[in-house]
Symmetry: C2
Subunit: 291 residues, 2 copies
């Protein structure tokens, strides 16, 4: 008899705990189940090889000594860090929701593993990711999910977050608004009904995008102390979020270079980015993708 | 002749600059326009009374001494802060994307102005908000947009953000995932085609919501040091984001109290929230809204 959906969900907690016991114990593990779960044992055992695993930080430095006890899930490979690369970044082989993190790592000149997950291997990987989504950042034994949480963490780590809580809040608001604009773009790109798609594109071109860029021009005049940066006097991840957005819109031929000339900040920003050697090294060497 | 859309957008920059000159100068202001903009003067003048204004921080303490020079936009009232209330929070009279900020202010016991914008006055206010969206937090003369940027700023300000960059990243990922789940809920709530709505609701109930709660149960076991909190040993805004989400799902009769018993963390969290006197004072006294 097939275990009902809700019960399977509930059981996953038991399963994950069992996997963790196996992972983090030195010797063999005895699984003791509460009475009402005993007849679920075959199901539990069948799931153990692919249950989600979150590794606590304290496991990193010690490493995992017996790989044969690891569950079969592909994601567990991330426990075995090469010592010189603290970060592994998992995303599909596209820019979209992953490029901001790659830009931050690039601008910081960090040597990381840029793992491009192909669509064929995604279903097997999915259950082992936090929130069942990509991107995922693997660092210090932690798998961090949510694209903006990842970007913000990396920005904090590498001095691209803003100098004060106040600057950070402003940078956050710009980065999140850029993410919203990107979401609107993706929405009409993937819309299948052509009349609806056209309408969504029109709203995007006539209102969503120009409103955003216009606001940034005004914003920069007030909150920026240095030509080309949106907040304060140095690069923040908000600048990278805007640049990544505009670059993607150009790749998708939604806008061209002339469009920039209507707005002051993106024009200045582009010059700043072009003169950032580390970031340009990433941009010039990254895999070619359509979007 | 009507000014074309793109030019109007471009002109807004000129207009906003003019408004700022008027606002922040002691005496009368002469508007000097570049040649190609001169024939736009009537349009510019007509817009000045409702142009977006971003007030730099340095203007707060001095205040605005000549209110008759202020543009007519409703939002400009926020320049005149009562000294004991540093924060004004603008959102519609619903919970949705605004309740997390209100929860944080409530849990911190901060006396703020909880301004509920009615739908009739929104169109007039819209152009004066950052990113043309609500919620907006007005503090220190800054108008901060984007719900999650606001929540995070308040959480930082009131010690609800996590103790280390590492805890903060984890809290961010949970808060943002909760915001994604809320977005999925709003999406099917506002879907008009009934067959599509049913399908979206089914995916939400069978996968989106249980996956999220199951992950949190596992997450808590690893990252929490104190029963009922998702990260570390005290309340963070991630806990409030989850609670606010579940509360809204209950109000919308998507789930009921029994649902909690499948998952450990929400059950524990609820007890923690119920024992937080300041937050319960807000919850018990807030305006009644359907969602």
């Amino acid at each position: 008899m097939r275990t009902p959906t809700w019960k399977r969900k509930h059981l996953d907690t038991v399963i994950a705990t069992a996997v963790k016991l196996i992972l983090f114990s030195a010797g063999p593990v005895r699984l003791v189940l509460e009475e009402d779960l005993r007849n679920e044992l075959p199901f539990i055992m069948s799931r153990i090889s692919r249950a989600p695993v979150i590794n606590p930080v304290r496991q990193l430095s010690s490493g995992i000594s017996s790989p044969e006890t690891l569950p079969a899930g592909e994601f567990e490979r991330t426990n075995v860090h090469s010592p010189e690369k603290r970060f592994r970044f998992y995303y599909f082989d596209i820019r979209c929701r992953g490029e901001l993190a790659r830009f931050i790592l690039g601008a910081a000149g960090v040597d990381y593993e840029d793992i491009r997950v192909n669509l064929a291997s995604w279903p097997a990987l999915k259950d082992d990711t936090p929130f069942k989504t990509l991107p995922v950042l693997d660092f210090n034994g932690v798998q961090l999910g949510q694209s903006m949480a990842i970007a913000r963490y990396l920005a904090t780590e590498f001095g691209l977050r803003g100098r004060t809580p106040y600057e950070q809040a402003l940078a956050d608001s710009v980065a999140e608004a850029a993410d919203d604009v990107l979401a609107s773009h993706l929405e009409f790109m993937f819309e299948e009904r052509s009349s609806k798609k056209e309408n969504m594109k029109r709203v995007f071109m006539e209102s969503t995008l120009p409103d955003f860029l216009l606001y940034l021009d005004q914003f920069q005049k007030v909150y920026s102390e240095e030509y080309g940066y949106i907040v304060g006097s140095k690069l923040t991840y908000a600048d990278l979020a805007v640049y990544s957005l505009l670059e993607q819109l150009m790749s998708a031929t939604i806008i061209d270079m002339n469009y920039f000339s209507y707005y002051k900040y993106p024009t200045e920003l582009r010059k700043r980015i072009m003169s950032n050697g580390k970031l340009m090294r990433y941009i010039n060497n990254r895999p070619r993708t359509d979007f």
